[in-house]
Symmetry: C2
């Protein structure tokens, strides 16, 4: 909560993923002064020219995202999270191994030096080497943001971050102990656009909650035992049998996939013996689908977290000493 | 087995699927006299012209497949199976509902009349309305072919037909009682070509049996409980962790997917209480992968069936009265 009226920029925070770049101008208390969304994900940089250093595309995107903010205030610190720190990013940032104490994340920022200009601090990803290898880039920042806003959760919580890849991050006693990845969103898109399932689907079907709920039920029914590689074919077969309209097939498939994801999650929780609180974080419409799926599988209705990325970037920058903590310093405005 | 030397054409048999068309010229005993493979699957017909009747593309493909055979012997009967009988096919053929007696399939051929020319008989597909709806087109003919060659199996057998979609067809006491579909092959192709998993994979990796076996093991390990939507991400994560080379990732992913398919199949068999014999039927290299997967999950090593489609088309044509049964008729050759 602000301790003084917003107005003075104190931080530039970048959420830089595969397909888009979000830029936030924040004040000393983490209040958002301005937000921009650009299409320059790391796989879609502006004016990328073959044989030019890859860094050139990042510089161009960076200039469009916040060049004017930096000209107005050249000393503003810059922090960034997401795929910008991957091997295909601007600079490969470290992975922290889990289990890890949450505060360690703020101590391992990777610096992109920019000669004669403001450097960029990139947040580390997380890597899990126990069990089956797994990685995260970007979601660690959302987890940081959720827990900065609700520190009491850090004792035992499972944070779900649905999206292209949904991540489920377990935090216990302030440590990230484990996480799982489900490629649900990307698999949905690939099935719809690049398999026979798309052929019988209506292209621009409106949302169909009943079809979604039916998919959820099938995933959890005895027929669901055949697994998702099998049940997805029912989107087509039910259509051919005259039991599922083309306009209902997209949300039916969505319900199947999310249903299988949550069924597996419930099974993992059962085996681990844990009953953590659950928090969802992400796009509101998608979180609603996950909320319905969690309830269907008997898991507690989750709390919803908002603005986790900007909150996480702000708190990481503050904990790393890039932004002085509030209260505001004595006024330095020109008289 | 032939009762007379091959030579006299008695049947044209077409295996007409989504992506290709195979044409067989068979003699009265079902011996193959000639085989042709054309790229004219029903989604890739030759010279398809907008606003022309769709049937025109089928006629063109048909002419290329067997026009000369028919000019040499205009009375040859023609039988076809596969997606040519689907709603997007030449003529929509019936679906038979399962459970169904096998011999019924030969009684329900759909006729494509061709004015002034030889008609085409299309084999019905199968539809399953109990449990979750499911359909088959083409595999019913392979099942027919397998059981025509090994009739003793028809008492209790599970026939696996791996491919773009693998089908598992249960036959008991001469009746098709149930079948399952797994979209394993098509999902593999979509994941490899249209998701982030393809980005870290070597494009032309040679076969890697160890990587395949590793995928099988992971699918059946405690980590496999997270389900296929989750374990597939390990193809990438293990790569990023330096634990899986780009050239090993394609076969690792193949092992994961086939492993999850067979794990689910084993679970379904466990729940049904059955222990049928298992027969595999399809591409030899793919059947080898499924053989390894079945053994890994403790299922009996399967017998392999070959030439099931041509055998099935031949026996269906014979049982439908399109081809007289051997022994050969008295010689009619010109003296």
């Amino acid at each position: 909560m602000p301790t003084h009226p917003p107005g003075r920029a104190a931080l530039i925070a970048l959420d830089w993923g595969t397909s888009s770049l979000r830029a936030y101008l924040l004040d000393q208390d983490g209040q958002t002064l301005e937000t921009r969304r650009l299409p320059w994900g790391i796989m879609h940089l502006p004016q990328a020219v073959p044989h030019e250093p890859a860094a050139r595309g990042f510089e161009l995107a960076f200039e469009q995202a916040c060049g004017d903010w930096l000209r107005a205030a050249p000393d503003l610190p810059v922090i960034a999270c997401g795929m910008v720190g991957s091997a295909q990013g601007w600079r490969e940032a470290a992975y922290l191994e889990v289990p890890t104490e949450l505060p360690r994340i703020a101590t391992r920022l990777t610096l992109v030096e920019r000669p004669g200009a403001t450097p960029v601090h990139i947040v580390p990803g997380l890597i899990q080497r126990h069990g089956l290898a797994n990685v995260i880039r970007g979601e660690e920042t959302q987890v940081y943001g959720v827990l900065a806003q609700q520190p009491d959760l850090a004792d035992d919580v499972l944070i779900g971050l649905p999206g292209t890849h949904s991540k489920w991050v377990a935090v216990r006693r302030g440590r990230v102990t484990h996480f799982d990845t489900f490629m649900t969103g990307e698999v949905y898109a690939a099935l719809r656009s690049h398999t026979i399932l798309g052929r019988t689907m209506a292209a621009d079907a409106p949302s169909d909650p009943a079809a979604f709920a039916r998919g959820l039920r099938v995933a959890g029914s005895p027929a669901g035992r055949a697994g998702v590689l099998s049940t997805i074919f029912s989107a087509r077969a039910l259509g051919l049998a005259g039991e599922l309209a083309p306009a209902a097939q997209p949300d039916y498939l969505s319900g199947l996939l999310i249903g299988h994801e949550i069924a597996a999650l419930a099974e993992l929780l059962r085996h681990s013996g844990g009953q953590p609180r659950i928090v969802l974080c992400g796009d509101a419409e998608l979180c609603q689908r996950y909320d319905a799926a969690l309830r269907h599988y008997g898991l507690d209705a989750p709390a919803l977290a908002r603005h986790a990325t900007e909150r996480g970037l702000y708190h990481l920058a503050r904990d790393a000493g890039l932004v002085a903590a509030a209260p505001a310093q004595p006024a330095k405005e020109p008289s």
